[in-house]
Structures are given as structure tokens and as C-alpha cells.
Symmetry: C2
């Protein structure tokens, strides 16, 4: 092997204050670990020595605690894009210590190539293998690796021996030409291949290799509970009815599913409902429940951007890698989330909302209009372009003191134009073709918790006039009353 072998500390020493760094991977899957951890230590040492040290961090999506977590704890992140979910980084960006640009995940790599966001100087890439001529087998997340490697002046490679070299064959990697030369993406089914199984970089750009051996560190999701189970059943029943009505083709359509407990419960319910045919997925994150459904034959193929499964589940997959290599493809997020493909394949898109309003607008990112939770992620790439767009949420939070359905969402990530169906544990609101007043009635009747139905009808009665019967002076009464009193039920909508 002709590359220079470095310790993580030697690799971190290369990186300068103020540098733009691009990481491989997507979520904890495929994100480098050792160099970012060493970089956080370097930042801490620099700060202790009275010298400034911060970097601008570009990733696929969220990372692991060794990247966002460690770097945020060391206050080593100046600006950050396109997504995060780290408790430490969240604290920093909500306090103004770090600057966060929350983007659609299909946009970041082209925005960087176009020059809309600064280019990366250094790419840090986790691989299962790199050949002498620069051919890299990525690990479990594709992310923006091709773009970051292409644009970076130098590449630091983490060869993580935890992952078998036999992962080669699971990826389908490519970069589009940019306008005015871009061509149609010739993909018409999740399982087709249009790229290469490895990503080749100029070996001269590889400034060093760090050897590691550690798992992604993905914990299993919490088990489902009666509320998430009921949401899952409601989604499955709704899709079954759509099939029966002929509004979904009899062969079904590929699914996109968000991440988390509710998504796991939804996938579980779809798996159990045998009136729904076995299905394929074209999604962003492939999580534990998908793998379980594959073993049962309910999910026949999954194309995504990352294999964000628990360490336990990944170990299980590595025991039977040939089987899973015939059932899983990982593509860069510019392709897994591409509007062209989402619309062409006709995805059924199921994502989770933080809150929803009476007119079908969805908040996916902020608490009370100001505190960033994670980011919009890929939900906008899918919701705008899907065959059918569903958002799910429990009807209440904080023991009932918060209604997830409010007069006006406190942050708008998905507008009324992008949302077809809302599902809570109480039922399914079908917003398709309905004017705002009819949407409000549908949501109150089908989805709102009984404690809030009367309250929300009172809000609507405040301003009988207008296409959208909003009363701006009271639009955030439920939110402000919660902030003042700890309970949205104290909202006062008397005229």
C-alpha cells in the first residue's frame, strides 16, 4: 500500500483553523470517527493555548458522537450544513455559538458544485477498502462522498476494518454533469444500477490513511408503544383502502419512510397487513425494521443513501452479506432523494411532523418557532414530489399539555401545497382537494385529541372571513400560553 499511514492525531494536525471539511457518510453510518475525534482534541488544545480553532463542517446528514458531538463539545464548529441531530451541537446552534444552514438533503452537493456554498478543502472518508489506484469501497453511508472527494484538495481516508471489504457491490455511485450539460437520470426502478460500485479518487490527493476498527455506534430504536402502533395501523389501513379504491396501482408503489419510532411502527404495520403486497423501498435511511421485513419477504428491495441499522442488526447482515447485497443499494443523497426519481417512481412518502396546523402546514424542525431540533433533512425532497405524501404525529405531547395540531405551525417546513394526508393515533385526515376550511374540519374531526377539538373550533370562529380563516393576533395563543403556563389548554380564544 503506497499511502502514508497516519495516526488520527497526525491527520488532525493537517487541518487548519477556519477550514471547510467534508465528511463521508450519512447519519452515523459511514461517517469517519477517529480523525474528527482527534480534531476535537486538537481544537480543545488550541483553545486552551488561547488560539482560535473552528472548522466549517459539511456532511451527508447527521453524524455520530465522534464528529458533531465531539466537535461541538470542543466548540470547534463555526458553520454547519446540511443537517444535524447532535444534542451538543443543537445546544450550540440554538445559543448562537454555531451557525447552521438547514437544507434539503438533495441540494447540498449540487449547491457546493455550483458555488452557492463554499467548497470543501479536505474530505475525510471512511472506507472498507482503498486500492493503490484510489478505488474506494465505501462503508454503510453514501452521503455526498463523490462530490466532497471531487472538490476537495486533499483526502484523509479512514480504513475501518470493522466493515468487510465484501461490502463492495452494495453501492451505486455517480456524479451528474452540471447544467447546462446535465442528462436524464436513467433510473426507472429502485433496483436498477446506473453507477459504479466503488468511487475512484486521484491517489495523489490522498494525504494519508488512518486505520480504525469500530462500529457505527447506532443504538436500536425504542420499541413501539400503543400510540405509535395505532398510528402505524392507521397508515396501513389507509393505504389498504387506497389500493382497494384503485388510487394506488394494484402492484403497489415504492415506499419512502422517515426515521424514528413512528416510522418503525408504520413499517411494522405495513409488514403485518397482508392486503398490502410485498413492497420495495426507495428511501433515504434504511433502518432496522426494513431489514426485518426483508427477512420476512415483505420488503423485496431497498434503495437508500445509508444503512443506518443498529450495530446488532448490521452484524446480523454481515453474517449473510450476499443475501443483503442482492436486496440493498446505497446511492449518494443527490440520487436517493432526487425529485426527478421521486416523482417518476411515484413514491408513497411517509414522514414525521413535529406539529401540523389546521390548514395542513407542517413543522419538521423547530420548537416554538425558535429552538432547532434537527433539520428538514430529506422530508422536503420527498414530500413535494411523491405520489402520495403522508405526515404522521401523535396528537399530543408532554402528557397532553401540547397539541400537535395547532392553529398555525410555529415554523413552516412543508406548506399546504405539499401535504396530502395527516395521521395521528385518532385517525386519518385526507386533505386532498379540500379548501382550507374543509381541511380544518377534517383535521379536527379525524386527528385532533378530544381535549383540543373545541378549542380549535373556537379559533376558527374568531375570523369567519377569508379563504384561510386565520386570526393573526391569536395564531400563536396556544404556543404562548404553553410558554407562560405550561399547558396549551389554557389558550383563550374568546372573541
Amino acid at each position: 500500500m503506497s499511502y502514508k499511514v497516519l495516526t488520527p492525531e497526525e491527520a488532525a494536525a493537517i487541518i487548519e483553523n477556519g477550514e471547510n471539511i467534508g465528511l463521508s457518510g450519512f447519519t452515523a453510518a459511514g461517517t469517519p470517527k477517529a480523525v474528527t475525534r482527534a480534531l476535537a482534541q486538537k481544537a480543545q488544545a488550541e483553545h486552551e493555548a488561547g488560539r482560535p480553532f473552528k472548522v466549517n463542517l459539511f456532511t451527508g446528514a447527521s453524524t455520530n458522537s465522534h464528529a458533531d458531538g465531539a466537535l461541538a463539545q470542543a466548540d470547534a464548529i463555526d458553520s454547519r450544513t446540511p443537517y444535524q441531530s447532535s444534542p451538543d451541537l443543537r445546544k450550540n446552534l440554538n445559543s448562537g455559538k454555531a451557525r447552521y444552514y438547514d437544507m434539503h438533503l438533495s441540494h447540498i452537493s449540487m449547491y457546493m458544485r455550483y458555488g452557492h456554498v463554499p467548497s470543501v478543502k479536505t474530505a475525510i472518508v471512511e472506507v472498507a477498502e482503498i486500492t493503490d489506484d484510489g478505488e474506494m469501497t465505501l462503508t454503510t453511508g453514501a452521503g455526498n462522498t463523490p462530490t466532497y472527494c471531487e472538490l476537495a484538495e486533499r483526502i484523509i481516508v479512514e480504513v475501518n476494518n470493522y466493515h468487510p471489504k465484501e461490502l463492495k457491490g452494495m453501492h451505486d455511485l455517480m456524479l451528474p454533469l452540471d447544467p447546462p450539460d446535465r442528462q436524464p437520470i436513467p433510473l426507472t426502478a429502485p433496483a436498477e444500477r446506473i453507477g459504479s460500485t466503488t468511487w475512484k479518487v486521484d491517489p495523489a490527493k490522498v494525504v494519508g490513511i488512518v486505520y480504525t476498527n469500530e462500529p457505527n455506534g447506532v443504538a436500536p430504536f425504542k420499541p413501539s408503544d400503543p400510540i405509535t402502533d395505532k398510528i402505524g395501523e392507521n397508515v396501513a389501513k389507509f393505504l389498504e383502502e387506497e389500493l382497494t379504491a384503485g388510487r394506488i396501482p394494484a402492484s403497489f408503489l415504492p415506499l419512502q419512510s422517515g426515521v424514528g419510532n413512528i416510522a418503525n411502527a408504520v413499517l411494522g404495520a405495513l409488514g403485518r397487513n397482508k392486503k398490502i403486497p410485498s413492497f420495495q423501498m426507495y428511501t433515504e435511511v434504511i433502518q432496522d425494521s426494513v431489514i426485518s421485513l426483508m427477512k420476512e419477504g415483505r420488503c423485496t428491495f431497498a434503495a437508500g443513501c445509508s444503512l443506518t441499522v443498529s450495530d446488532e442488526k448490521l452484524a446480523e447482515m454481515y453474517q449473510d452479506l450476499d443475501f443483503y447485497k442482492s436486496k440493498v443499494i446505497l446511492r449518494p443523497q443527490e440520487y436517493s432523494n432526487n425529485p426527478e426519481i421521486v416523482r417518476r417512481l411515484g413514491l408513497i412518502c411517509i414522514n414525521t411532523a413535529i406539529e401540523v396546523d389546521l390548514f395542513g402546514q407542517v413543522n419538521s424542525t423547530h420548537f416554538f418557532g425558535k429552538q432547532m431540533m434537527n433539520g428538514i433533512g430529506g422530508s422536503g425532497d420527498f414530500a413535494r414530489n411523491g405520489y402520495l405524501t403522508i405526515f404522521t404525529c401523535p396528537s399530543t405531547a408532554k402528557g397532553g399539555a401540547i397539541s400537535s395540531i395547532v392553529p398555525m405551525v410555529s415554523h413552516h417546513d412543508h406548506t399546504e401545497h405539499d401535504v396530502d394526508i395527516i395521521v395521528t393515533e385518532y385517525g386519518v385526515a385526507d386533505l386532498r382537494g379540500k379548501c382550507p376550511r374543509d381541511r380544518a374540519e377534517e383535521l379536527i374531526t379525524k386527528c385532533v385529541h378530544p381535549d383540543y377539538q373545541e378549542k380549535l373550533r373556537q379559533y376558527l370562529a374568531l375570523t369567519p372571513q377569508g379563504h384561510t380563516p386565520h386570526c393573526l393576533a391569536k395564531a400563536y395563543e396556544m404556543h404562548t400560553k404553553f410558554m407562560e403556563t405550561g399547558d396549551m389548554r389554557n389558550a383563550d380564544f374568546s372573541a
Copy 2:
């Protein structure tokens, strides 16, 4: 000619109460006139006789006064989608008399084929010519004509002899297969042709033909004024700088431009700025200024969904039709506004905002959160997917009593994730890559009217914490103070 010739009244008599009707055209261009006018008269007669009569109206976009206008005056519209701009219909939908579903214009035809919105029973189609075997040459707007003709049980054809049969050749018409069979759209440049010049329908579905001879009735836009001229110059100068910086390819990229006075001023300014190369357009509506730029050689090709030019300009084009047929293509809105194409071609998208907020969210549809103006139209199809997304607006309205830049927009149509650049007569705010705080500062410094700069800084100071420093209790203070006192400058942001 083997079709039955009908009077408009005879054609209107076919249509029943409660029917779903699909109209050809897009804006006043290509929209039928005589049958809808007669239908409004029929509705009025029915109402006078004490019988209910309303229809559900599906169109390409806005129409002419003979469709939305006449039918709304007769209170003959129950539900309406996907767009309108009629003063009479606006009154009805804001008062709750009519139900309006405001959609992305690229979505409606596929949503109807999928079954998400009801299918049309009758299509009314304006043509320049129809042959005995059902081959129709459309007039000046393509709209959703192929889908409506395909789904309708019966078709009423208005042969409008005002338009020459020689329009044949200006259209490029097609229908996609639906998922799971949809294929890539093989279009890689605005001027390529992928469809047919006419649309063929089953002659047996044509229940009758009505002969007409009348212009579209499109009035010229108001001339530009110093404010719109300055906005246009700011856009042109910004694009010139982006070219110089290499962030736009030297050959430039196709333009999409919204409709109206500001759009006309922007196109005029781009035409005058000779540092910007001659350009092509891939847009929704082709308006007067585009035709002027074609004559000057500044616009070399325009692909769109409608030729919404003034009657005077259209007469001028018909004098030189061969020239314009080599420079103009009209496609169905499912193609003119298609995200796949918008992203592939890398459009520079320039649309107009009603209001913008400190964090880059855009309101395109509502006044004070409740009164619908027109609708989102195609702005979302383009803004989300463009190479570069620009929104323009004058910094103030109502003689300065309204600031177009507010703490929070009163309706969200384009989220922060979809907006790159804001331009007012004061300057250009570049929001790319910036966190919400930095976006707010950029907007206040570059775009906000001096009367409101201090006011908006006071708002930001109310809640120093949070990724997005909103104070929900005061987010609509400027709006509510305007409603109470007639001037946003009376907003009180003292802590």
C-alpha cells in the same frame, strides 16, 4: 366536417349541476370563452328559477373574464383548482362562497389521473382547428389539455377562428405514463421536441363544436416605474456578478420568470445588460417583454406553457408567425413546470413575493394570513428546483404603511429552504449558506426600507435565544398594528 355544430347555449345546456369541468388553456390564453359565458347565463337562469346550479372548475391556471369572471358573478362555481386571478372569484372564495384548492401547477394533471382529485366529466377546449379524425391544433395555451381530454367523457370544442390554423407546429404535446411505468423525460434543452404538434382525441367524444372569433383579451401590463426598474437593474447586476464570479456558467442558463410588472421590468433590464449573454427561457408564461427581447435577439428561444401576450402583441406575432414558430414552444404545464426538467436544465428562477420575512420565508398568496390573492401558481415548481432562486418585491406597499419584509410572513408558500436571493429596489440579499440570524441582518441591511430597519432590529432583540430568534407573541405585531391603525410603523417591539 362531421361534428355537430352547436350554439354556445346548446353546448352549455349539456352541462349539469355539480359537474366537474376541465378547461383548455392557461391564463386567458387558450381558455374557452363562449361556452363558459353561456354556462354562466344558464346558471343565472337556473338560480332565478329557484334551482341549484354550480360546477367544479378545473383549469390550467387563471382564465379570462368569460370563465372565472362570468361564472363567479353568477355564483356558479362550487370548487375551483388549481389557480385563479379573477376579482369576482377572489371575492367568492374569500367569503366562503366558493371552495378553492391552491396547488402547484405541475401537480394538478397527475393528481387527477392518480385519483387524488375528482376527474372531469366534460372538457371544453379552444382550438385553432380540429380535423375529422380528432386532431386538434390548440391555440395559445397548453395547460392541462391532454389530461382533461383523456379523462373526460365528452369534449366540447370551441373553434376560435381568431387564431390561424398555422399555429400548428408551435406546440409540443404529450402525456407521461403514470407510476410504476413512468419514464425519464428526454428533454435536455428548451428547444428540443419530444411530443406531437397536435393533440388527438376520439372524435366520438366530441359532443359538439362551437364556432367563435374573439381575441384572448389580454391587456398590456402597466409600464414599469422607477421602483420596478430599480428592482430589474438590481437583478441584472446581481446575475452579471454571478457570471463574473463563475457561479453561473459563461454560456448562461435558461431563465424562468414570473408574471407581471416586476417580471417585465426584470426581463427588460436583463435585455439591456449586454454583459449577460443572449439567453433562452424555460418558463411558464411567455409575456410581452419576451417577444420584444426576441425581436432584439436578446432572447433566442422561449419554451413555456402559454403565450400570454397582449392582443396587440399577438397580432404582431401572427404577422410573422414563421419567425415565432421557430422560437417558441408551448408544452403542457406538467412539462413546462416539471421539477425533473427545472433541475436538469438549471433554471435561473425569478418570481415575485407578496411579502418576505427576516429568515427568508416567502408569502406568494395571502394578504394578512387570510385573504387569498391569486394562488401559488408555478412558483413552487420552479423555486424548489432551480439552479438559483430569486424572489423580488418592492420594499414597501401602501405608500410605506406596509413593509414587504416582516418578522414572519403571514402565509408561508416558500420556506427558507427554497429561497436563495431576495431583491428589492434597495438591493440584493444573498441568503445562501447563511444561518437565520445572518439572513436577517443581510435582509435588513440590503433590502429593507429605511423606515423599517430599526423596527425589525428591535424585533430580533426581543428573543436573543434560539436558532431562529422569533418571538411568537410579537411575530404578527406589524400585521395586527396595520389592521388596527393602517400603518405597520406603529408596531411596538419594546420588550
